[in-house]
């Protein structure tokens, strides 16, 4: 073990002695590295960009060039110098790119700025054109606006008018409806009245009426009593109803019932007969609703004929009961 170590040491020592004693020959590797560095220094695009790294490479190369000693060591130094040059080159390239990047970014900003300026210019020009357009057409525009305003106003007015008209129409319709119903009502009343008038007229037509100084005289013919009788015949009552209707149209007036006979028979008898007959009629009228205090009766006998007693037709007319609506 000890022996072999000594042998190795001896061999190593001999080898080193050979190496070290060898005169520095032309080192091709070192020359190549030196060329690289010189090229890098000659490159105007790179030389200024990594001065520190370039300085380190230079120092490393000088160390390698000046190094004495064994081959391994010198090879190592040359290798390191070569790497240092490569590093300097990479750093210079990077710096170059960074500066190019700055330029490009400036260019980018400048383009954007220019674009925004142009945009603003265009907008200004556009605005100016618009302004001119507005100026030249402002009169027209004003006129158009006025017209439009007027039209709108008119429209609004007509709309209001239409609304008003509608409302009025509705009111009118409602009024008309109410009036129509009023009219209807009135018409019905009128109808009713006319019916009453008609019926009264009919009654008046049936009854014999005379206007005298005392008042209206209703003459009831000799159909109410049988000959010589003082009680009303059957059916006389319905005739009397018509007389009552007439009497009730003027309820404030007093009523006088007069009985009359023809000239046949005794005068006293005729007076009594006429009195009784007048009383019978009076009582019938009271029964039919005429107020008792309104009505008086009298037997007039044969002394107030309205026709000749010479003929039967005249005597028939004279046999009568007059119901007088007294004016006073």
């Amino acid at each position: 073990m000890n022996r072999s170590l000594k042998q190795i040491a001896l061999i190593l020592l001999l080898a080193m002695l050979v190496a070290c004693t060898a005169t520095p020959k032309k080192d091709l590797a070192l020359e190549r590295v030196r060329d690289d560095l010189n090229n890098l220094r000659a490159n105007p695009e790179l030389v200024g960009y990594a001065p520190l790294a370039l300085g380190e490479a230079e120092r490393a190369l000088r160390v390698a060039e000046q190094a004495s000693g064994n081959e391994i060591y010198r090879f190592h130094l040359v290798y390191m110098a070569d790497r240092r040059i490569q590093i300097a080159k990479a750093m210079a390239e990077r710096e170059q790119y960074e500066q190019a990047r700055d330029v490009l970014e400036s260019r980018h900003s400048a383009m954007l700025l220019k674009a925004s300026q142009l945009e603003a210019e265009q907008a200004r020009a556009e605005a100016e054109r618009a302004r001119l357009l507005v100026a030249t057409t402002s009169e027209d525009a004003q006129r158009a606006r006025d017209e439009k305003d007027r039209a709108l106003q008119k429209e609004a007015e007509s709309a209001r008018a239409a609304e008003l008209a509608t409302e009025e129409a509705q009111q009118a319709r409602r009024l008309a409806e109410s009036r129509a119903s009023e009219a209807e009502f009135a018409r019905r009343e009128a109808d009713l009245a006319s019916q009453q008038i008609t019926s009264l007229t009919r009654q008046l037509e049936n009854l014999q009426l005379r206007q005298t100084e005392s008042g209206v005289v209703v003459t009831l013919g000799d159909v109410l009593f049988a000959s010589g009788q003082t009680s009303l015949v059957e059916g006389a009552r319905s005739s009397l109803e018509e007389v009552v209707d007439l009497l009730q149209t003027e309820p404030e007036k007093k009523i006088r019932v007069e009985g009359h006979t023809d000239s046949s028979g005794e005068a006293d008898t005729n007076i009594a007969l006429s009195q009784e007959r007048a009383d019978a009629v009076r009582q019938a009228l009271i029964d039919l609703g005429v107020a008792e205090d309104r009505i008086t009766s009298a037997g007039m006998g044969e002394d107030f004929p309205i026709a000749s007693n010479e003929i039967e037709a005249g005597r028939s007319r004279n046999r009568r009961v007059d119901v007088i609506l007294l004016d006073n």
């Binding site: 190593l12 070290c20 004693t21 064994n70 290798y79 790497r83 990047r101 490009l104 674009a115 142009l118």
Partner: protein
């Protein structure tokens, strides 16, 4: 001539009898290699990365073979390759950015020319 020879011999002997380096000897190189990996060295500088790793492996082997001096040289060489890989990666990234920017600028310029015409320059 003779004293020089003696001195050289002594120096050489001294070099050869260097004591074994501690485990820290690899630390710096390993750190720089890790940095280079993060910088994208495998993408932008694969050759240098390979050198850095191979030389570190050789250094380990030299250490095992007790070739301490050579091992230390190899560690240095490994580290400087890793450094170079870092710088090459940075340069490559810068170049890439520049190319992208140039392309973007060209596109922008074309667009603006299309929009504004000859007014734009």
């Amino acid at each position: 001539m003779k004293p020089i020879l003696v001195a050289v011999v002594l120096l050489a002997l001294a070099a050869c009898t260097t004591i074994r380096p501690g485990p820290d000897a690899f630390l710096s190189a390993e750190t720089v290699i890790a940095t280079a990996e993060k910088a994208g060295g495998d993408e932008f500088a694969p050759v240098e990365m390979r050198f850095a790793r191979e030389k570190l492996a050789s250094a380990h082997q030299g250490m095992e073979k007790q070739k301490y001096v050579v091992a230390l040289y190899l560690v240095d060489q490994s580290e400087i390759n890793a450094e170079l890989a870092i710088e090459k990666s940075r340069a490559a990234k810068s170049r890439r950015r520049v190319n992208e920017l140039r392309k973007s600028n060209d596109e922008l310029e074309n667009k603006l020319r299309a929009t504004f015409g000859d007014v734009f320059e």
